[in-house]
Symmetry: C2
Subunit: 358 residues, 2 copies
């Protein structure tokens, strides 16, 4: 697998390097040879965030769909209370999540799991902590309907949107071939397409992976060596530095009970013995923005989370120096945050269902 | 008063007309004489939204302060739960308020009064429905501390902000002369300065008031004649078409009990007999975006609200045609909605207080 991957990566790298040279005059391209550390990172499957929009199978994109999806993402009227929107728990100004242990939803209910960041989520192999949604479109349908989140129904959402002429028009523009385009399925499709635009490219790690050897400082490079040599990279790799595999939480040592909270993760879905306490490895991109950590959000300190990972997943005790180097490296995982113009939502009409907060 | 005001208005008008001519090639300026309807509107004190930022006494503005105020306006960490921000109830994509009867706050509590729009609020003579805050700075301190809103304390807010190095830096830049600029007072000052930028200029009514006679269609002009002749304009005038005086709710006829909800308005503040059931007349700008109406938010239909106003405040029953004309006019009260780039909030640190949702 790796042997096939490396030439592909190198090809990508060369192409990107050429295009970078064309665009910004040779900044951020491989200038000398490739240092062994970079080679190891690429060998381990680490990849920069592509500049092109990721294509989602069965959900073709268009500017009209993205624009509509953006309105819907910010519209609290998709919730029963008409106070909560996708952006409440996946705040685009707040690392793409909510800085809560687990999210607050309808009726001030506490949800069961920590809100994962929406940023770069299009690069996850599946969605939710247990991977129960195949893609962002399927995911988007969940929180809108969950009683402890937005507490709405597909019928309610469609009724709201059909009561607002501007929305009906936007759906027609986004789905020109459809006779009755205001559907819950199209709501989820367009939200997913907007979310696919929420990437955070050009982190120092991306520049490094593209061959800019100066993009990481020496402490960060030391951190990268630890990351690769000690095995962090086995779960946190690919474009998203995570998000592409399920792993038992507590391979070598069980974390504290309050961190696990009896949540068996993927097992509830598959009933497969090997899936007990298995969760999708979260992305480490923008990790400084996505506290608190783990599915319960019980760990607030990134140093503590890193220490816990090394003991529970790798069966080692990292030195203080190594932790410091890894923290420096993770600083380099923060990319350019999405620049989103706050959309002006079309006004309700006399026919729009009223908010219900009970 | 009016005799003094009119020449001032005309001077402003001429100056604006000249500057418009320079900027955009004579669009939107007085081309022929002034039609009597426009003269009546100006005589009644109706004014367009100025293009310049309004100066607030004792709170000098600067780009650094506005930028900081914007971050704070969007930051949920100013609330005890770290989920609610100013933008939750004064949503910049949603007419500057929340489409709720009364706002939902900490613990899912229902507040006592409808959330007024933040848009153009700098032009109100005072803030809150009862005018208990002299200006936006004083206002901003209220909801942050109210137990049914953001439920925080000044000490908590300062502790949060001081735990985040980027904020400390922003405060230093915004208040260069101060030794310890991270104060609750400066939080309120900068939020107010950001809010002062949230105006909605260039509504058709503004263009008309500047002399563009074609900016209103004939139905809207008929509506404006009703608005002036029947007396709507006596409470809803000035730059904000409201917001500059207190009036008893139910001068001629008491509205339904559920619309008043026993709220004596300004009386609770002043204990003055004349203030019983007196409220600040709300702005009518962007009124199509600010349903539901009145301090209780019990009326969702603008037609119904208009009918209610005519019977309760003017002692008349408007014809259906007149209501239709007034609704057409109020369409022309919608201006350009603010274009806000969603700010990226600086990340919390290990020292940042954690959210408390109980």
């Amino acid at each position: 697998m790796k042997k096939i991957l490396v030439p592909v990566v190198l090809t990508v790298l060369v192409v990107v390097a050429i295009s970078c040279t064309k665009k910004d005059g040779s900044k951020g391209v491989i200038t000398g040879g490739m240092e062994p550390l970079l080679q190891s990172a690429l060998d381990a499957g680490m990849l920069p965030i592509p500049y092109e929009l990721k294509v989602m199978e069965g959900n073709p994109s268009s500017p009209e769909k993205i624009e509509l999806g953006k309105l819907l993402y910010f519209d609290p009227r998709l919730s029963k209370s008409q106070l909560l929107s996708c952006n409440t728990c996946h705040n685009v100004g707040f690392g793409g999540d909510d800085y809560q242990e687990t999210s607050l939803g309808h009726g001030w209910a506490k949800g069961p799991r920590n809100s994962p960041t929406v940023f770069n989520s299009v690069y996850n192999t599946s969605q939710f902590w247990d991977g129960r949604a195949a893609d962002l479109k399927e995911q988007a349908k969940g929180p809108i309907q969950a009683s402890v989140e937005m507490a709405a129904t597909p019928e309610y959402v469609v009724e709201v949107l059909k009561s607002i002429p501007e929305y009906v028009e936007e759906f027609k523009l986004a789905f020109p071939g459809e006779a009755d385009p205001v559907t819950f399925d199209n709501v989820a499709a367009t939200i997913a397409l907007f979310e696919a635009t929420l990437t955070t490219p050009n982190a120092p790690i991306d520049k490094y992976l593209r061959g800019d050897l100066a993009a990481l400082n020496s402490e960060q490079k030391a951190g990268l060596a630890v990351y690769i040599d000690q095995g962090c990279v086995s779960c946190h790799t690919g474009v998203n530095l995570g998000g592409d595999g399920y792993f038992e939480f507590g391979v070598f040592e069980s974390p504290d009970a309050d961190v696990v909270a009896g949540d068996k993760g993927r097992f509830a879905l598959t009933q497969a013995e090997g899936d007990e306490f298995a969760f999708k490895a979260p992305t480490l991109r923008n990790i400084e923005y996505t506290a608190p950590y783990f599915h319960t959000g019980k760990v607030w300190s990134l140093a503590e989370a890193t220490q816990l990972m090394s003991s529970s997943q790798l069966g080692i005790e990292l030195s203080e120096e190594n932790i410091k180097q890894l923290l420096a490296l993770m600083d380099a995982f923060t990319g350019e945050q999405p620049q989103i113009m706050y959309p002006t939502l079309p006004p309700s009409t006399d026919n729009t269902p009223k908010p219900v907060w009970k």
